[in-house]
């Protein structure tokens, strides 16, 4: 019982991270039908952006105060992620806007490798685990004796996990409301449904596409920093692993759907932790169950869980 609760908590925290990344995948797909495989690396670059702020920007005296260092690291991570996404959109994807779909897809894979290598080269020792500052209250919230095991049945949740979940939910709700009720949000949905007609309503498609990349990257940057704070170390490969999870979450939820991406992410987080705990093969096989579920969902519902009804939602 305790183990189950513990793994549920871990799964939800993992789902929150993946969800923030998955939103970027699903939004970009909704607007330009591109699976931006480099998006996982935007997350990774965001984490390193936060780390760089802590190492080289923050004065020594502030580093210990999380309420100063964390917001600045988040801003730094977002800024770096957004900058990278802007460059990527402008120089890698925009020239291929009217090319066959395979061209930007392959380009995305290339961009992904470029970003991983760029961080490896320019960030000292980024290919081995770099300690990430504990930029949040360094304590665990312990729920005592929930199970029949008495006091041994403690479920402990790291404060940083809780932060991840809270921030992730707040940002998802904000994003949803931005897209549902704002001028640019309507323009995004209109462009997703019929780009030519949207242009005839005075919508500039370039601005919509740039905005989509910016929003996705900002969320990924936040996720990167919070992930670093939670896991306490980062390297230049974190983007690949979490990117694959996030992509899978977006597909599972129905790519193009915001709600689908978030729910898909929580499902995947839970499958990974619970599968690793209870299924045959243990944690070494936890990946397997994610993709087994993905395959099953896609066999019976190829459009994903929330696919058809909301497919064109930005």
């Amino acid at each position: 019982m305790t183990t189950l609760l513990q793994q549920l908590a871990n799964g939800i925290a993992l789902g929150a991270t993946i969800g923030l990344i998955a939103l970027g995948y699903t939004m970009v797909y909704g607007i330009i039908q591109l699976i931006n495989f480099a998006h996982g690396e935007v997350f990774m670059v965001g984490a390193f952006g936060g780390l760089a702020v802590h190492r080289w920007v923050l004065p020594e005296s502030f580093r210990e105060n999380w309420y100063v260092s964390l917001p600045l690291m988040l801003l730094g991570g977002m800024a770096v992620a957004v900058a990278i996404a802007l460059i990527m959109e402008r120089f890698a994807y925009r020239p291929l806007r009217n090319a066959p779909r395979l061209a930007p897809l392959i380009t995305a894979l290339g961009v992904s490798i470029v970003l991983q290598e760029a961080i490896r080269i320019w960030f000292p020792n980024a290919d081995s685990a770099q300690p990430f500052p504990k930029a949040f209250v360094d304590s665990q919230i312990t729920i005592i004796g929930l199970g029949p095991d008495g006091p041994e049945g403690d479920v402990s949740i790291r404060a940083s996990q809780l932060l991840l979940v809270v921030v992730s939910i707040i940002l998802s709700v904000l994003l949803q409301s931005y897209i549902n009720r704002s001028k640019m949000g309507r323009a995004m949905r209109a462009t997703a449904q019929d780009p030519d007609t949207a242009r005839l309503m005075g919508v500039n498609p370039d601005r919509v596409i740039v905005l989509t990349f910016v929003l996705g990257a900002a969320l990924a940057g936040v996720a990167g920093v919070l992930y670093g704070v939670d896991i306490t170390n980062v390297d230049n490969a974190i983007g690949f692993q979490n990117g694959i999870f996030a992509f899978t979450a977006a597909v599972l939820g129905g790519i193009g759907s915001l709600r689908g991406a978030v729910i898909g992410a929580f499902i995947i987080g839970l499958i990974k932790t619970l599968g690793g705990q209870y299924m045959w093969g243990g944690t070494q096989y936890d990946y397997v169950w994610i993709f087994v579920v993905l395959i099953l969902v896609l066999v019976f519902r190829p459009q994903g869980l929330f696919g058809e009804a909301e497919r064109v939602r930005a």
Binding site: M184, R186, A187, D194, R199, L200, M201, V203
Partner: protein, 284 residues
């Protein structure tokens, strides 16, 4: 009266002017040297058989196509070949095959039309500051006015794709009007409508004209066009055949011919003439 005389003597400059618009796709000339002039508050009809190039002409007017030759002027300045800029300049349109945003509500569709007429900065949007709410409310109120104008108030919250066909056409008109156009282009606004709906649409177009908007209408329903328009232009095979008042156009034998056909022997002669013409063009 002298005032009337003056007005007649110096007509207001045209709002929209197409000058020698030619559109070539590969080897096919879809439009050849088509000109059109539209005064303020005028309703001009564009008729012609299928494939005459009417919709292509609309696409040139709205910046979807860049004409191969010729130009389009709005209030004397040339329109860019960029649909969003053309909309901002003041030309709006509807489509022959309805192109609403199917998964958005009726109200949202019209509000997308307000896009270029509302300011919203990211800060006040994210923080939901009063400026954001003011802007949204203004856009929503204007959109509701337009829905009332076309008679769709009751359907405000419905998803656009669930609307009956005729309502979808009227929603497209409301959405186009939401861009505050000087010129409204309607591509077959009564296609698929019954007589009552058609009459309602005619009254709606008059009402739009009365707000000072100039209108160009593509339609196959000749009776509808003649009962609506101040001027009619007839396009046949990409060329302007006749233009003038409904009376003039109706009386023109070439129009009757283009629409009703002509005795078979004459058609044969025409085809022969056309093919020789084509050959000479090829040689040149």
């Amino acid at each position: 009266m002298s005032i009337t005389d003056n007005m007649a003597a110096a007509p207001a400059p045209p709002v929209l002017q197409a000058q020698g618009v030619t559109m070539v796709f590969g080897g096919l000339t879809a439009l050849n040297n088509v000109s059109l002039s539209l005064g303020k508050g005028e309703i001009v009809g564009l008729i012609g058989p299928n494939g005459a190039g009417k919709t292509t002409f609309f696409n040139c007017l709205t910046g979807l196509y860049l004409p191969s030759r010729g130009r389009v002027l709005l209030d004397g300045s040339q329109l860019a070949a960029d649909p969003s800029k053309v909309t901002i300049a003041g030309v709006a349109r509807t489509f022959q095959n309805i192109r609403l945003f199917p998964n958005m509500t009726v109200l949202e569709n019209v509000m997308v039309g307000r896009h270029s007429r509302m300011r919203q900065d990211p800060i006040s949007t994210l923080l939901r500051l009063p400026a954001f709410h003011r802007g949204e409310r203004a856009a929503r109120e204007r959109s509701r006015e337009l829905l009332e104008f076309v008679g769709l108030t009751r359907a405000e919250h419905e998803v656009a794709r669930n609307l009956p066909y005729g309502d979808q056409r009227r929603l497209e008109i409301a959405r186009a009007l939401a861009t505050d156009p000087k010129v409204l282009l309607l591509d077959e606004p009564t296609a698929g409508m019954n007589p009552q709906e058609t009459e309602a649409t005619r009254q709606l177009i008059f009402a739009i004209r009365d707000t000072g908007v100039s209108v160009v209408v593509i339609e196959h329903d000749i009776k509808f066009i003649f009962g609506l328009c101040d001027k009619v232009s007839v396009l046949v095979q990409g060329e302007l055949l006749v233009e003038g008042t409904p009376e003039v156009v109706r009386a023109d034998p070439r129009v009757v011919e283009a629409y009703l056909g002509k005795p078979p022997e004459e058609v044969e002669a025409d085809v022969r003439a056309a093919s020789t013409e084509h050959d000479t063009r090829g040689e040149a």
